[in-house]
Structure formats: structure tokens, C-alpha cells
């Protein structure tokens, strides 16, 4: 393989990896605080893309306004979901909450099929995102450059919030010990709401970037990315934002490279994430950057 084709694949891998990382952060944040696999995260992502789509086509908003609308409404949607489907079960066994999450995901998908129709829709792309640049022999579409940059910006904001603000400190406290945090006067409900809002907002950012890269919407589009990004979060060590980013990149680059280097395995592309997950879990059950926990007797 020439260095040019390799670079081309790297560019593809990095932009896919950034998308995975954005979504994986949402999983990691929610899991860190609630110890809940938010199975509906992929569907929140899907809702975000549809809001952007209808904002542009039905309400004729300019693309940037539609995107901002999508971020705001998706965050609100995530918060509403937490209120309705997760909060009533906060004191229940873990399995009930997980089943509720799966049920919520199922409900959102079916609602989307009824509301938006089952047929795929084409996403209108502003020309800014489709410019093609040439660097030597490597051709890059502008969206492939925008994706990593946007990811980095949001990541920086998030890291700042978590590490340097009072809300962030409260979030860390809640994720460390829920009860103790409550005793110290932290309003746990507000922190959880905030976390869900942030996670859903990141899902919407990821969704908008995703449809700019792969411009097709279907009600079930969130399923596979959702699952894969959860895997990215687990591979990196769930609960750790750094880990989610690392996991996202490993998954994105790995997937592109497996298709590029071993074309005979193309059909197994979707299995790569799961094989990686199982290997990592067996070698390091808490993920690459996760903390090892010991069970107290």
C-alpha cells in the first residue's frame, strides 16, 4: 500500500473515530453517574438528526440555525427521557433500569417510524461541508476536517466543565458516591439532569456531523452507531472521558483499517467492534483506562 492510500485511510479513520468518540462520551458520562447503560443514546442521536433535517426542510432555517435548534431540542429530549423512563426506577434493581432503557429505545424507534416514516431520507448538505481539498495525493472533503475539530472543541469544553467548575465537581462527587454526595448537600437530581442534557447535546452534535458525512436518515440509524459507541466507551474504560475518546479512535481507525488492509474481511466489519470488546473485557475487564474495582464483602 502506498503512503498516499494509507494517509487517505487515516483521514477516514480519524473522522469516523471522532464521531464515535463524541457519542462514547455521552455513554460514559451517563454510566459514570447513574451506572446505567443508556441504550436509548443511539436513538437520541437519531432524534437529533431528524430535528436538524426538519429544521432545514420544513421550517426552511439556514443550516447553522437548524443545527443549533437540534442541539437544544435534543438536550431537552434527553432530559425528558431521564425524567420519564429512568427517574421512577432510581431505587430499583439494576436490571429493571436496564430493561427500561431498552424499552425506551424500542419506543423511540417505533415512534420515529410512525412520525417520520420508515423510508430513508436524504439529508440536504450545505456546500461548505462538501468542498474537496487535495493534499498531495490525498483528497479530503471539508467535513472530514470539520469533524475532528468540532470534536476537539466540545471535548475541551466538557473537560473544562468537569474539572474546573462547581457543577463538574458535583458531577464527580455523584459518580464517586451517590449517597455521600447527597449528604454533602448536592442536589443529585439536578446533576443527573445536567449530565443527561450534556450527553444528549453531544449525541446531537455527533448526529449532525454523522449525517453530513453519511447523508441518509432512517429511524433505525442510531442502533449500530449507538451499540458501537457504547463498546468504544467500554473499551476505553467506562466512566472515563479520556478513555471514551481513546476507545472511539481505536474503534474508528480499526474499522477503517480492517477494510483497507484485509478486503476479504469487509463483511465482518460490524463484528470488529464486538470482537475487540470481548478481547478487551477478557484481558482488562475494566477497560483500558478504567479503574479496577474490588467487590466488598
Amino acid at each position: 500500500m502506498s503512503i498516499q492510500t494509507f494517509m487517505q485511510h487515516m483521514v477516514n479513520g480519524i473522522s469516523l473515530g471522532s464521531l464515535y468518540a463524541l457519542l462514547a462520551i455521552g455513554y460514559t458520562m451517563v454510566y459514570g453517574i447513574l451506572r446505567l447503560i443508556n441504550f436509548a443514546h443511539g436513538d437520541i442521536f437519531m432524534i437529533g438528526t431528524y430535528i436538524a433535517f426538519y429544521g432545514m426542510t420544513a421550517f426552511l432555517l439556514p443550516w447553522w440555525a437548524a443545527f443549533i435548534l437540534a442541539l437544544v431540542l435534543t438536550a431537552a429530549f434527553g432530559i425528558a427521557l431521564e425524567r420519564l423512563a429512568y427517574r421512577p426506577l432510581r431505587r430499583s434493581p439494576r436490571i429493571s433500569i436496564m430493561i427500561s432503557a431498552i424499552g425506551a429505545s424500542f419506543l423511540i424507534e417505533n415512534l420515529a417510524i410512525v412520525l417520520f416514516g420508515g423510508r430513508p431520507k436524504a439529508f440536504p448538505i450545505a456546500p461548505v461541508f462538501a468542498k474537496i481539498f487535495k493534499f498531495g495525493g490525498v483528497s479530503v472533503v471539508s467535513i472530514q476536517l470539520i469533524i475532528p475539530v468540532v470534536t476537539l472543541i466540545f471535548l475541551a469544553i466538557l473537560v473544562y466543565i468537569v474539572n474546573h467548575t462547581k457543577t463538574g465537581m458535583a458531577m464527580r462527587a455523584v459518580s464517586k458516591d451517590y449517597e455521600a454526595a447527597r449528604l454533602m448537600g448536592i442536589d443529585v437530581d439536578i446533576i443527573i439532569t445536567f449530565t443527561f442534557g450534556m450527553g444528549s447535546l453531544l449525541a446531537a452534535v455527533g448526529g449532525v456531523l454523522w449525517v453530513l458525512k453519511y447523508p441518509q436518515l432512517t429511524p433505525l440509524m442510531g442502533m449500530m452507531p449507538g451499540l458501537k459507541c457504547f463498546i468504544a466507551a467500554v473499551v476505553g474504560g467506562i466512566g472515563s472521558i479520556k478513555g471514551a475518546v481513546v476507545g472511539g479512535f481505536i474503534l474508528g481507525l480499526g474499522e477503517i483499517m480492517i477494510v483497507a488492509l484485509l478486503p476479504s474481511l469487509t463483511g465482518f466489519r460490524d463484528a470488529f467492534a464486538f470482537v475487540l470488546l470481548i478481547v478487551i473485557l477478557l484481558v482488562k475487564p475494566s477497560g483500558l483506562m478504567g479503574k479496577t474495582t474490588t467487590e466488598k464483602v
Partner: protein
């Protein structure tokens, strides 16, 4: 002692009545209604398998669809006639050693269960060390891997095209299909009751309640978890095989996560850790799904007509299930089982049972 004997006789009578019901139903119901009855029976088998793993042993597994796929394909390939195989595998021929195999249904069904159990053992050995959330996601991953493998092994499974024309219940079986579907279900129910009442069953429950305490009491965690997982996979394999023959065609897309989710719902609705609950859950879910079909078609209330909205059925169904999950977390039965006392002195025992439903 005398009381037990009386109960056994009552159970036997109930069973005979049920067989009688099936025999009559088989004659008077049309094929659509029989299909629902068959489906309910198959879901009983599938639900029991998952309940053994999730409900009784407390291992949250989401890989049921994968084992069903293994069973469905095993039985399909074994029972299809050589000509039928040739017709199906038109892109690439089937592996030569399978081309001329044609087994009767019963051994194929058992083989389907065994293959799924073997796959279950292979998967279980590494992943059963993981705990709840991680186990769920790892088993889900394995189910997806199985699906991807089946999509890509053209010479074994015909890939994404799937298999068509599986021997189905109206022509190829010595007895009507309902005896196969409910026969399997009844055998599984009896097997489950015996298993749960045995010392193994008590060990499973101990692991569910507290793993560390169970281990301290000398229960081998790995052995028992593995046992529950393998038996559950066996039942999933048989259920998958029956489902394949009922529907008549199988393809990898059938065994997506949605399939697992259906089974999880049956178990949750009935009550996690209750055999009776699973049976009720399976019947209720199957019937509900068909009853709600009305919503998809046009409705006529005399004075007002509503055009059908395709897909509304699934929305209502999933909304109902969310309500059950949130407001009736313990399911219909909790961990209670059916007891004859409910019939002989219903007032006291039934209210007791309802209040004692345990999460």
C-alpha cells in the same frame, strides 16, 4: 403425602385437558389462529430458557437471538431435502458434506438444541467471569458476531439471502405442528420445575441473591453459571428451530437484538424468576401483538373513520411495556409459582401471593 398425591392427580388432569384443548383447537381453528397458538408455545420455550439464565441465576444475558439463530439454521439445514438445498444455494453450492443430509424433524430439533448448547458453552466459558452490565453487553456482542458470521458464510447458511421453504407444519410433519410447539413447551416446563426444585435450582437462586455468599457456602459459581447458561442456550436453540419451521423462512436479519428484546419482555412481564409468569407472559405478549394489529388497519367507529397508521401497533405495544416496566416492576407474578391452593382456597392464598411478589 396424601395432599401431594391429590395435587399430582390435578396436574395430570389439567395436562390432559390441555392436550384435549389442543386437539380440538387443531380441528376448529383456522391457520392464522393456530399460528398464534403455535407462536405462544414457542415463546414459552424461549422465555423459559432466558428466565433460567436471567431470572433464576441472575446473569443478565442479552444473547438469546444468537442461540436461536444457531438452532434455527441447524435444524433447517438438517431437515431440508437435497433438491430444496440446491434451489436455495444458487449463488454458491452448499458444503458437500451437508448437501445430501436429510434428517427427520425430531432428531434435527434435538440437534438444534445441542448445537446451541455447544455454542453457549464456548461463549460462556470466557464471558461468565464478567459481572452484570458487562456480561449483558458481551453476550449481546456475541449474538451480533454470530449473526455477522452467518451473513458471511455463504456455503453454510446461504448468507444474507437466508433459507426458504423450510419444511413447515402443514405438510411435512407426522403430527400437526401444534403438538411439536406445545409438546416442547410442556416438556420444558416440567424440566424447569424439576430443575428449579432440585439442589441445582437452589444453588442458582443462591447465586442470584448473593454471589459472594453463595460462593462462601461452597457453591461453585462457574459450574452453576455455566450450567444455567448452557441449558438456557439449549432451550433457545430448540425454540429457534421451531420458530424457523413455523415461519418457513429464516435469514440472519430475523435474529437481531429485537428478537432478544421480545423474549426479555416476556420474562419481565411475567415476573423475573417465575416459571408460571413466563408461560403467562408468553401467551399474553403473543396475543397482545395480534390484538393490537387492529391499530395498523383502518378503524371504523360508525360516526368517525380513522385511517390506519402502519407502525402504530408497535408504538402502543412498546408504550404498554414501558408502563409495565415502570409501574409493575415485579411483573405479573413476581417470583410466585402457580399452586393448586389458589384453586382450592383462592381467597387467602391469592391475596397473599399478590402481596408477596418479590422483586
Amino acid at each position: 403425602m396424601k395432599k401431594n398425591k391429590k395435587k399430582n392427580i390435578m396436574t395430570l388432569i389439567a395436562l390432559l385437558l390441555f392436550i384435549g384443548f389442543l386437539a380440538i383447537a387443531d380441528r376448529i381453528f383456522d391457520s392464522y389462529q393456530m399460528r398464534i397458538i403455535n407462536l405462544a408455545g414457542i415463546y414459552v420455550t424461549l422465555g423459559l430458557g432466558l428466565n433460567l439464565i436471567n431470572g433464576f441465576t441472575g446473569l443478565f444475558s442479552l444473547g438469546h437471538a444468537g442461540f436461536m439463530a444457531v438452532g434455527a439454521y441447524t435444524s433447517a439445514i438438517l431437515t431440508m431435502s437435497p433438491e430444496l438445498k440446491e434451489m436455495n444455494f444458487f449463488l454458491k453450492p452448499i458444503m458437500p458434506f451437508l448437501a445430501n443430509v436429510e434428517w427427520p424433524f425430531f432428531p434435527a430439533l434435538i440437534m438444534a438444541g445441542l448445537m446451541a448448547a455447544i455454542v453457549g458453552a464456548l461463549i460462556g466459558a470466557p464471558v461468565l467471569r464478567l459481572n452484570d452490565d458487562y456480561l449483558a453487553i458481551a453476550t449481546l456482542g456475541f449474538a451480533e458476531i454470530i449473526r455477522v458470521i452467518f451473513t458471511n458464510t455463504q456455503t453454510l447458511t446461504n448468507g444474507a439471502l437466508g433459507l426458504k421453504g423450510l419444511p413447515s407444519f402443514n405438510n411435512s410433519f407426522p403430527y400437526s405442528f401444534v403438538y411439536w410447539s406445545w409438546g416442547t413447551a410442556v416438556v420444558m416446563i416440567i424440566g424447569m420445575v424439576l430443575l428449579i426444585k432440585s439442589s441445582y435450582g437452589r444453588a442458582f437462586k443462591a447465586i442470584r441473591e448473593n454471589e459472594i455468599a453463595a460462593e462462601a457456602m461452597g457453591i461453585s459459581l462457574f459450574k452453576h453459571k455455566m450450567m444455567a447458561f448452557v441449558i438456557g442456550s439449549f432451550m433457545a436453540g430448540m425454540g429457534g428451530a421451531l420458530l424457523g419451521h413455523l415461519v418457513g423462512t429464516i435469514d440472519p436479519l430475523m435474529f437481531r437484538f429485537l428478537m432478544t428484546f421480545n423474549i426479555v419482555l416476556i420474562v419481565v412481564l411475567g415476573g423475573i424468576g417465575s416459571i408460571t409468569g413466563t408461560v403467562i407472559g408468553a401467551v399474553v405478549v403473543t396475543v397482545m401483538l395480534e390484538v393490537l394489529r387492529v391499530l395498523d388497519g383502518a378503524m371504523d367507529f360508525g360516526f368517525i373513520q380513522i385511517q390506519g397508521i402502519p407502525g402504530l401497533r408497535m408504538v402502543v405495544f412498546s408504550a404498554l411495556l414501558m408502563i409495565v416496566i415502570i409501574f409493575y416492576q415485579r411483573g405479573l407474578m413476581g417470583t410466585n409459582e402457580f399452586r393448586w391452593e389458589w384453586v382450592t382456597s383462592p381467597k387467602k392464598t391469592l391475596t397473599n401471593a399478590w402481596n408477596n411478589r418479590k422483586a
